[in-house]
Structures are given as C-alpha cells and as structure tokens.
Amino acid sequence: MKKYYLILREIFYFLTCSAIILTLLESGWNGMVLAYFNINWLLISWVFVGIVILLINPKNS
C-alpha cells in the first residue's frame, strides 16, 4: 500500500504544480491553456487523487 501511496503522492504534487502553473499561464495569457485544455479536469483529478491519498495514507492505518 505504501508503494501506491508514494506514487499517488508524487502525482498529487504534479497535479498541484500543474494546476498552479497552468492557472497562472492562463491568467497572464488568456486562451493559452483553455483553448486546448480544460483545467477543470485537472482540478477534478487533483481532488480525486487527494481523497485517495487520505484514504490510503499508511499513517492513518
């Protein structure tokens, strides 16, 4: 379980960084991201991965 936890934690960090950077890019240069990619999917994935991490966190068990 710890193996999955570590992988998902890295994905969570990746999604967090991506959401922040892409939002900043979109704010500075409108349409740069949203014209090709809907950031909402990133945020949904981020919330989902975050919940899974909380559930499988070895410290909780």
Binding site: L25, G28, G31, M32, A35
Partner: protein
C-alpha cells in the same frame, strides 16, 4: 520492489515542462499560421457564439439560423494576425439578395470592412446579361458594348449608367458650371455622433467651422477627429481633445469651435469625415462651400425648424428614433411613414432618384444607400451607384455593372463562400495581461433580413472556418534584431 520517488518526480516534472512548452508553441503559432473551425456541434474557444440572441435561433443539429440583420461573433486568437480567410457554409432558402461578412475596422463609428459571400442579384444578372470576366473582376453588360474589361475602363460610359459592387473606380468628378460662393452659410440643424459628407472646392479654400458640444453621457474620453479625403487618400486630418469631463454625469460642455481650413487645395470633390462618438453633437456648421452632401447617414439631433426638409437620392431610406417623445409621421415625396416605436427601423422604398423628406420632429436617425442634403442646391453625387439589396435591373438605368465577386460553390447542398479579410487595419482588443491574446469582431450582414417582421426568412449557417496568417516567429525575431520593431 523499491520505488524511486525521485525518478517519478523528475519524470512528472518533465511531463509538465513538455505540456508548458506545447502550450507556448500553440500560443505563439511560430509558423504565423493558424486554422480555426466552428462546426456548430461543440462550442469553439476561439470563435465565439453568434449574437445578439434575438437575431438568431438556438444552435440545432450542427447549424444555426440567422433571422435578423446584422449578427456578430468574436474571434479570440492567442496573438495578432495580418489576414483572415473566412469560409462560411450556409443556406439561403429565401434567396435574400446579399450576404456579406466582415471585420470591425473602426469602433468609434462601428465601421466594418465587409466582403460579399453571396449576391443573388449578380447571380441572376449573369443569366440574363452579357458577362466578361478577368480574374475576380466581372463586367455585366445589359447589351454587349465592350469586348474587354480594359476597353470598358479606358472608355468609361456615363456615370449614371454604371454600378459597382465590391470594387472602387476612380473617375475625376468635376462640376463645369460651379462657381464659388461669396457668402458663408450656416447649417443650423444639430447632428449627433459621427458623419461624413462630400464637398466641392474650386478656386477657394476648404473652409468649415464646426460648433461642437459634449453631452458627457458616457465615460469615455470624447476625442474629435476630422479627416479630409480626396480619392480615398487622406489629405488632411486634425483632432480636438476631450472637453476635460470624462465622466458620464450628463453635464453638457460649453460650445467649442473646430475650424477646418485648407487654403490651397486643388479643384475637386473632397470627403470630410467627422469621427466622434455619440456624446458629441455638432450644433451648427458654418462654411463657405456651396456643396455639402451627407453620406449614408444623418442623426438629426436638435433642429430649430419644426419641419426639416431633407433631399436625398437614396432609394431605400431608413428612419429610427430612440426618443419616445420624437415618434412621428415622416413625409417622403408626399407619402406618410409612421414612426410609432422607438429603436425600430422603418424603411421607405422610393422608386424616384431624388426624394424629399419632411420631418415633423428632430432626433431621428436617417440612413440610406445614397446622399442627404438640407438643400437641393447642396446635393452633389460624385459616387458611382453601388449594387445593394434594393437594386432592380428592370427599374434601373444601369447598363453596366463592374463587380469583384465570386459566386459561392455548392458542397453537399450547402453554399460555401470564402472571403479574405485584412486584420492589420481591423480593430483589435488586447485580451490578456502579459500575453498577446487578441480579440477581433466579425459581422455577418444580410440586408433586408429582419427579426421583427412577419416573414419566415433566414440564413442557415453550418460552419465557420478561419485561416489566419501573420508574421512568423522567425521573421519577427529578425525584425527585432534589425531594429524594425
């Protein structure tokens, strides 16, 4: 198996860096080209919805019906471009005479540069008249007189027998029996917003004084710009700054005078353009010129006379008022036209080449396909007639039509037309803080199509494709290195 967290982290960072680079690449469009498509199936980020909603029906099964004229859509691009090749797939079941598309060129006076998508009048003419073609230029002759377009251009017939469509033809317009006036005259009818007029000069100075007031009803700075054109070339321009009140408090400014004087100017027709927003009212115009013919539109704001007479050579004359107190009966050539609703455009079609309009009250926007004057003596008509939706070849003295027009092709039951639009001279808005996101405003115009009439006519659109062309990234870098930018 041991998990190497750092490897996963670096890999994911690389993925993120790759996507950021891709987004930058797409936004910069380094080749200078971009192709955008709106198929009316799913929304497009770049090509926005067609508005206003009361002139369109909801999108249905991959197409949308336009029921009123004109309609607009916005194009959002990640950077500016120089040209747009617009391809429209449409149906015109009611055979409405003209369908055009264009781009906003001047926001102050809402001027669009349009190109024809379809002209059913010319398509019909092609069946019955003799046609000569050279490139995109076509010459339609009621009876064959010229055997080439060059021959026609070298031996232009009488101006009143020629009509143009989407093409400009220069012919020196001189009035042989014109003599200058010794007295100054005053046009005491106040005009709201922008307007343009033709005037004539011979052995005299071009001399106008505009008495201007700022209504201060909107928040923008109300700059006043005057441009003088000869044969479509600007020969003079001048500006006057805002009155200092940039608020929308409705505090009317004191009257200011803008003098336009060009002492040494050669004989001929000049077009004077007053570029202002609707906050600016020209209370009166003083001039020594004999001829003043207002072009296409006149917003009579306040008049000292109760029954203002206006002469026009327009054959379709439109009237509109925004002021409930100014609803009235307009007399045109003795016939009455009731203006009984605000914001509604009323059209009078005249079969006469010269008409007289008598207004009961002021504050009416009068527009048409010709020229307007307050005195018959002032009217002059240097223009070739333009083919518009009111053109009827049988009731017209036009024998020649010169047109830059290609009929749409039919693909799977849909008409497909392509027009090239210049975006360099188009009005654009920067739509991002740091980037170069640019917004352009497009128009689809179908003269005669009204949402509030009882006719069930419409134009159905099933696809908008825009191919954009601009400076490539490499050329731009070269320009920067050479110091050209």
């Amino acid at each position: 198996m041991e998990i190497n967290v750092k490897t996963i982290r670096y890999f994911l960072l690389l993925v993120l860096a790759f996507f950021i680079l891709v987004f930058f690449y797409l936004a910069l469009a380094p080749s200078g080209r971009m192709s955008l498509d709106y198929d009316f199936m799913k929304p497009s980020y770049e090509i926005k919805k067609i508005t206003p909603i009361d002139r369109v029906e909801p999108v249905n099964g991959g197409s949308q019906k336009i029921i009123g004229n004109p309609v607009y859509f916005t194009l959002v691009t990640p950077r500016p471009f120089d040209t747009a090749v617009l391809e429209l797939k449409f149906k015109n079941p009611a055979e409405l005479p003209i369908v055009e598309a264009g781009v906003l060129a001047d926001k102050k006076i809402w001027r669009y540069h349009t190109q024809p998508l379809e002209n059913n009048l010319l398509d019909e003419l092609e069946k019955n008249w003799n046609v000569l073609k050279k490139g995109e230029l076509s010459l339609f002759q009621r009876t064959k007189k010229f055997d080439s377009i060059e021959n026609f251009l070298e031996n232009l017939p009488d101006k009143d027998s020629v009509a143009l469509f989407n093409h400009n033809l220069q012919k020196k317009y001189l009035l042989s029996n014109y003599s200058k006036s010794d007295q100054k005259k005053t046009i005491n009818h106040s005009l709201r917003g922008a307007y343009q007029f033709y005037t004539y000069v011979k052995d005299e100075a071009l001399d106008f004084s505009f008495y201007l007031t700022d209504l201060n009803k909107n928040k923008e700075a109300d700059q006043i710009e005057v441009k003088v054109y000869s044969d479509n070339d600007i020969v003079h321009s001048q500006t006057m700054n805002d009155d200092g009140n940039k608020n929308d408090n409705g505090a009317k400014s004191s009257q200011r005078i803008m003098d336009l004087k060009i002492p040494e100017i050669s004989e001929g027709v000049y077009k004077v353009e007053i570029l202002v927003n609707d906050d600016i009212v020209t209370d009166k115009i003083e001039t020594s010129q004999r001829k003043i013919a207002f072009i296409n539109k006149l917003w009579l704001s306040n008049s000292l006379d109760p029954n203002v007479k206006i002469k026009t050579n327009s054959q379709a004359i439109n009237f509109q008022t925004t002021n409930p107190a100014k609803l009235q009966n307009v007399k045109i050539n003795g016939s009455d036209l009731a203006i009984n609703q605000t914001y509604r455009q009323y059209t009078f079609s005249s079969d006469k080449s010269d008409s007289e309009i008598i207004l009961e009250k002021d504050d009416v926007i009068i527009s048409g396909d010709g020229l307007f004057s307050f005195d018959e003596e002032e009217l002059l008509n240097p223009e070739f007639k333009k083919i518009n939706s009111n053109f009827h070849p049988d009731n017209s003295q036009i024998n020649f039509v010169l047109a830059d027009y290609t009929a749409p092709e039919i693909v799977d039951g849909w008409k497909k037309s392509v027009v090239k639009l210049d975006l360099k001279s188009a009005y654009k808005e920067k739509a991002s803080i740091l980037g170069a996101t640019t917004k352009y405003s497009f128009i689809i115009s179908v003269p005669g199509l009204k949402a509030d009439d009882e006719l069930k006519d419409f134009i159905e659109i099933s696809g908008i494709k825009i191919d954009l062309n601009g400076t490539s990234l490499w050329k731009k870098i070269l320009k920067i290195i050479k110091g050209e930018m």
